[in-house]
């Protein structure tokens, strides 16, 4: 084994756990375990002590640090805005987002239609506001499903090891050989696009990825004394996993959840753009871009540009939040 750093339990694992297993997965940019930027924290050395055994725990001072981080504030305000739109979109929207006036198609931005109208005469601003709804319902649900299943799977894999660890580990490796978008694409095409399919497929892929992260965290925890103590007390395996280990690995799980949420939005938007995600006539940014970008050549840029900016602002917001949380919790 060329890896000559037996710094943690991972190196001693019989499973092929070399540096490459921890290597970034190109298939999924969000899965790349990149070093945190450490620029979003309030100040250098601001976060809790590095030698703290239970570094994975979430504490109140973490929240205080987060609220002092400009990146977190910007991300949170943007996300909050889109959540408000998702809930009250129909009320805020100046016009009907689904029924348009066919006489006013492809009109540029004006005082009456701030973002112009699309090829069916629908108000683009209204569609952008209401378009937040479906993606902001599906993405968190899929991510939550993936996080819950992935955490349970990762705990079992890391704590018990054995056959399930090897089988799921191999399965994850095979899945990771494909970009998440392609895996999701393949399955959504197979089963047919529907809201439930999107949630299940993305949740399933994420569960495998999250299980891997949780497993690594658990492998490090299980070598610590408090686990040995719990085993001596004759606690049950389930109790050790969920009552002893889980609270100590919540940090990485929370980071994983926020990072994945950003990637869920990325994936759903992309699938919608390809025609296999949220289906028209439901207002959706990705689907709207898919139906309007062919008109770009004719100069009707507003129909495409505004939904594009909406997606960009949402994913950037979620990732600013994810990065701030990572900088505060993992450092």
């Amino acid at each position: 084994m060329p890896d000559d750093e037996p710094r943690d339990a991972v190196a001693a694992a019989p499973a092929p756990e070399t540096y490459l297993d921890a290597e970034p997965s190109p298939s999924d940019p969000a899965a790349v375990p990149l070093p945190p930027l450490a620029i979003t924290t309030a100040g250098p050395g601001g976060a809790g002590g590095a030698l703290d055994v239970s570094a994975g725990r979430i504490r109140r001072e973490h929240l205080r640090l987060l609220l002092r981080s400009p990146a977190f504030i910007v991300g949170a305000v943007l996300l909050l805005w889109w959540v408000v739109c998702a809930i009250f979109g129909r009320v805020i929207a100046p016009d009907n987002p689904v029924a348009g006036s066919l006489l006013q198609f492809n009109q540029g931005p004006s005082a009456h239609h701030w973002f112009g109208t699309d090829s069916l005469g629908r108000d683009v601003l209204s569609r952008v506001l209401v378009g937040a709804r479906d993606i902001l319902a599906i993405a968190p649900l899929a991510t939550l499903l993936g996080t819950v299943v992935g955490t349970a799977l990762g705990l079992v894999m890391g704590y018990y090891r054995g056959v399930i660890d090897i089988v799921v580990g191999r399965l994850v490796d095979a899945m990771l050989a494909l970009p998440v978008v392609i895996v999701a694409f393949l399955f959504v095409v197979a089963v047919g696009p529907s809201t439930l399919t999107l949630i299940l497929v993305i949740g399933f892929v994420f569960a495998l990825l999250i299980a891997r992260t949780v497993r690594t965290a658990v492998l490090q925890e299980r070598e610590l004394d408090y686990i040995a103590a719990a085993q001596l007390r004759d606690e049950s395996g389930a109790n050790i996993m969920f009552a002893e280990i889980l609270p100590n690995v919540l940090g990485p799980i929370l980071v994983e959840f926020t990072v994945r949420l950003g990637y869920a939005i990325f994936t759903i938007a992309t699938l919608s753009f390809l025609g296999f995600g949220i289906q028209p006539p439901t207002p959706d940014w990705g689907a709207d871009i898919a139906s309007s970008y062919t008109y770009l050549g004719a100069g009707y840029w507003w129909e495409t540009l505004f939904p594009a900016l909406a997606i960009a602002s949402l994913v950037v917001a979620v990732n600013l939040i994810a990065d701030s949380i990572e900088a505060v919790l993992v450092r």
Partner: protein, 321 residues
């Protein structure tokens, strides 16, 4: 120690093969779940039932799943990727030219992104904590999270329609010279560049910072070497090692990101091939295309592994001992 390295690489190769077999199973099973009857899909809704079932029989889709998988996988090993339902022609005659075109696009993206992101990451590290570092890091991070089709349409609006500086499609007219072809590929390559920039730059930044903080860099500074020499000779050599690995592994991602970019820019590469195969329910084409992406990814990880093993000074030292 050289023998151990070889052994390790052989083990990696074996694992890659195992992963590939698993992957082919997953892909094939996903293809089997696909609703609808291939014969019906090809002949249309008005064809006679007997015609549909006889076509199903010719295609072999009425046989047990495992038998079909075996026929498929042994065919691939022999170089027979199957016959496209849509075009009634060998899949390979579409797949390989498409991969070639995609590689061309990927190459343009790499040529732009690799120097750009390494310089970006190193500059950010050298200005750690200052405004320039923040700008590079936050911009890189934000851009890498925006879906390719989003940055793609914004780029089209600005450069192709607003400034009229670059063509809207990716395919140059037939018979164009190489510089013209490249000019057509620049705009489609940029969304890929934007995604990759953040990751590679971040890796380069982290590696450089680690090297800057190391004892050998401090020793070099203390013995009076000029800063530029310390950076060039001691810092960069060590900091770029993880970056090289990331670049190699990102090749796999790049091929995947092509599905969207090629669809958006109407470029006939592997990405659009998969997209069209999916819309047409052309399973043999779809399965072969997705498998090809998996193979490219596994090759890229292997190359990354070999590069890391060969370039890692610690391993070289071990060999010399």
């Amino acid at each position: 120690m050289g023998g151990q390295v070889t052994l390790y690489l052989l083990k990696r190769l074996g694992l890659a093969l195992l992963t590939l077999i698993l992957l082919s199973l997953i892909i094939f099973l996903a293809g089997q779940v696909l609703p609808g009857d291939p014969g019906r899909a090809i002949l249309g809704p008005f064809a006679a039932k007997s015609a549909v079932s006889s076509l199903d029989h010719t295609l072999g889709v009425d046989r047990p799943v495992l038998e079909q998988y075996w026929t498929w996988i042994t065919g691939i090993v022999r170089g027979d990727l199957g016959t496209s339902y849509q075009y009634r022609a060998p899949v390979s005659s579409f797949l390989f030219p498409a991969i070639g075109r995609s590689l061309k696009l990927a190459l343009v993206a790499f040529v732009i992104v690799v120097p750009l992101s390494i310089v970006g990451g190193v500059v950010a590290a050298l200005n750690r904590g200052r405004a320039l570092d923040r700008v590079i890091s936050v911009t890189g991070l934000s851009l890498s999270t925006v879906p390719e089709f989003v940055s793609g349409v914004v780029l089209i609006v600005v450069f192709a329609i607003g400034l009229k500086a670059l063509p809207v499609t990716a395919s140059a007219p037939a018979g164009s010279s190489i510089p013209t072809e490249i000019r057509y590929l620049i705009l489609p390559a940029i969304p890929l560049v934007l995604i990759l920039f953040g990751y590679i730059a971040r890796m380069a930044r982290a590696g450089t910072i680690e090297a800057l903080d190391s004892d050998y860099a401090r020793t070099a500074t203390l013995k009076g070497l000029p800063r530029s020499v310390v950076i060039r000779r001691h810092v960069l050599r060590n900091s770029l090692l993880p970056t090289i690995t990331v670049i190699a592994t990102q090749t796999g991602y790049l091929i995947g990101g092509l599905v969207v970019v090629e669809t958006l820019f109407n470029y006939p590469g592997i990405g659009r091939l998969i997209f069209t195969a999916a819309t047409d329910k052309d399973f043999p084409m779809l399965e072969a295309g997705v498998l090809a992406i998996g193979v490219v990814y596994l090759l890229a990880t292997l190359v990354a592994d070999v590069l890391y093993t060969v370039l890692n000074p610690r391993i070289r030292l071990q060999r010399a001992e």
